[in-house]
């Protein structure tokens, strides 16, 4: 593993917005593919509000699947195909070169961006497009190019145009806190607060259509589960039973939530039909059952239960409701989330006193600890199944961190504004 300690300054062209996160890459994958992203030629006649090629380079570097060549090492800065000296790029060990140009039309008030992705070995142009956007849409457009390049080379859909939701916690005075729920781009930029409260907020979960968030808020003084439409900010109270109303998560068809309620005595898992408001109780045990998560096919849930004496991960078919214990290594395994293919789980695992994110293959029961940070919590999978975002303690505050599902690539999303926690990675949008 090579340590990188690269600090990517995404702030250069962006006005600072409160609670925005920035990116700090700690470790790249050994198998990262070398790619040269040549600064796009600016033919617009004036300064461009966003450095598009830099955003692309940061995106690809962050994924862990690419190693973007530093601009200072480039021997030339070609703007079009016939300016590429292939021997130079081969000597630099590059597999791909991305070049491009920006123009500005005063008539349409739009930027026109053309780019080309070239395979150094075959000298073939493998991808090329001309896109246009207003100045405000340039970041979005850069992420779109990153997605196209990523998918062309890896065969996997990119997640650079997705969003994340997270909760920040700021201590205002000794006895007064402020919780804020944010939605931002996957790189932490473009953050918008969608709800705030002096009382606790927990467990944001995206609907699979990317339009809504479900979460727990104590803002009435008591915990209740809410659904909020992200764009209109319309909020609906779903449950506010006596006792716990916690850990909501959307079913794959968005028709129901799985949640934890203690209205019948202690923490049990229920499904809640959002159209009929009907509850279906799944667990029935005096131990704690909570933190349920749907399988991709919607037929099963996995959850945390301490029915064996300590928190462990269980699986249950929602029809037959028979719990099956899945984790046996370690005293504390909790808050499971399914892998994209439904064959593995990611969860919080206690080992040697520390709490880390671990993965288990459900067929072989083989467990792998993916992180080495401390007090790791709340794993959330990227929609392409390649990365896990989680929260961890760094210094005295909670920050978001990302690890690739093979444990290879790692980066942090630090913030200057207090604790950042409870990340939820959105589904693919559009």
């Amino acid at each position: 593993m090579k340590l990188k300690f690269i600090f990517l300054s995404l702030f250069l062209f962006v006005q600072s917005v409160q609670a925005e996160l920035y990116i700090e890459i700690r470790e790249g994958s050994d198998s990262a593919l070398p790619i040269a992203i040549v600064p796009f030629a600016n033919k617009s006649g004036s300064a461009v509000p966003y450095d598009v090629s830099r955003i692309i380079a940061n995106d690809l570097q962050r994924s862990g699947d690419f190693d973007a060549l530093s601009t200072s090492k480039m021997l030339s800065l070609p703007e079009q195909y016939d300016q590429i000296h292939f021997r130079d790029w081969r000597l630099l060990g590059q597999k791909y070169v991305l070049i491009g140009q920006l123009k500005y039309s005063a008539y349409t008030k739009k930027y026109e961006i053309s780019y080309e992705l070239i395979d150094v070995l075959t000298q073939q142009r493998v991808l090329g497009e001309v896109l246009s956007s207003g100045s405000k849409g340039l970041r979005k457009l850069a992420h779109k190019i990153s997605d196209a390049v990523y998918e062309e080379i890896t065969g996997v859909r990119g997640v650079f145009s997705t969003k994340i939701a997270y909760i920040t916690l700021k201590q205002l005075t000794k006895n007064k806190q402020e919780y804020r729920l944010f939605v931002s781009d996957a790189d932490g930029q473009n953050a918008h607060m969608i709800f705030k409260s002096h009382e606790p907020m927990l467990s944001p979960s995206w609907s699979n259509d990317g339009q809504h968030l479900a979460y727990v808020s104590f803002h009435t003084g008591r915990p209740a589960i809410y659904i909020q439409h992200v764009k209109s900010s319309h909020q609906r109270k779903v449950t506010s039973f006596k006792g716990l109303n916690s850990a909501p998560m959307w079913s794959p068809d968005d028709a129901s939530l799985v949640m934890t309620l203690s209205k019948d005595g202690n923490a049990e898992i229920y499904t809640y039909d959002l159209a009929t408001n009907a509850l279906n109780r799944l667990t029935n045990h005096y131990g704690i059952d909570t933190e349920a998560s749907w399988s991709p096919n919607g037929k099963e849930v996995v959850f945390t239960s301490d029915r064996s004496g300590r928190p462990q991960v269980y699986r249950m078919n929602i029809k037959d409701k028979v719990p099956e214990r899945l984790t046996f290594v370690g005293k504390y395994n909790a808050r499971p989330r399914f892998s994209k293919d439904g064959e593995s789980l990611y969860y919080v695992h206690q080992s040697n006193g520390g709490f880390h994110i671990a993965a288990i293959d459900m067929k072989t029961s083989e467990q792998q600890v993916l992180t080495s940070t401390s007090l790791d919590e709340s794993p959330s999978l990227s929609p392409n199944g390649r990365m896990i975002m989680y929260s961890t303690l760094r210094g005295n505050s909670s920050v978001l961190a990302v690890v690739s599902v093979d444990g290879g690539a790692k980066y942090f999303l630090p913030s200057d504004s207090g604790d950042v926690r409870e990340p939820a990675w959105s589904p693919f949008l559009n």
Partner: protein, 194 residues
Amino acid sequence: MKFDSLKPITALLLSGLILTGCESMDTQDENADVDVPEQGAADAGEAGSDSGAETYGAPDEPEVGAAELAAQNAKEAAMKEQAALREMRTFYFDFDQSSIKVEARASLAAHAEFLATNPASKILLEGHCDERGTKEYNIALGERRAKSISKFLVVNGVSRSQIEVISYGEERPANAAHNESAWTQNRRVYIEYK
């Protein structure tokens, strides 16, 4: 209607206060958290049985025998002791545990006795956890801790309707540091009298 029926009780209450004298008033003042009229009402039941409603408004100190005085002093001492025990409001737990520690029992018994004899008193039990482990599991664990205290109180005569439970999980640490000593202080249930 309901108000009228309380009148004789008010009378008994006042007579009870007069009979127990100034010292017991002092005891009550020392414990600002104690609901004074309720405490008085509890005393009135016993004190009123031999004094009756006719002592209402009587300004003269009734004569008290030596044996009676000794019994009264013992009772006051016991009350003071109970009040002191009730000053403990926060009860601590081991990691991932919700069983009540032995050293908490005497104080919880004093809270139970007070609540049982003062059925109009209500409490909120706040369950808390340290920051280790997952947030929602800790919300459930905090509830279980609070319910474990609640069960103890109910077994000792407190009515369920006097008790409310809320869990904050790891959201409201008593000590915000990230070490063993802070965690010990954060795994707790707090009794709030409403």
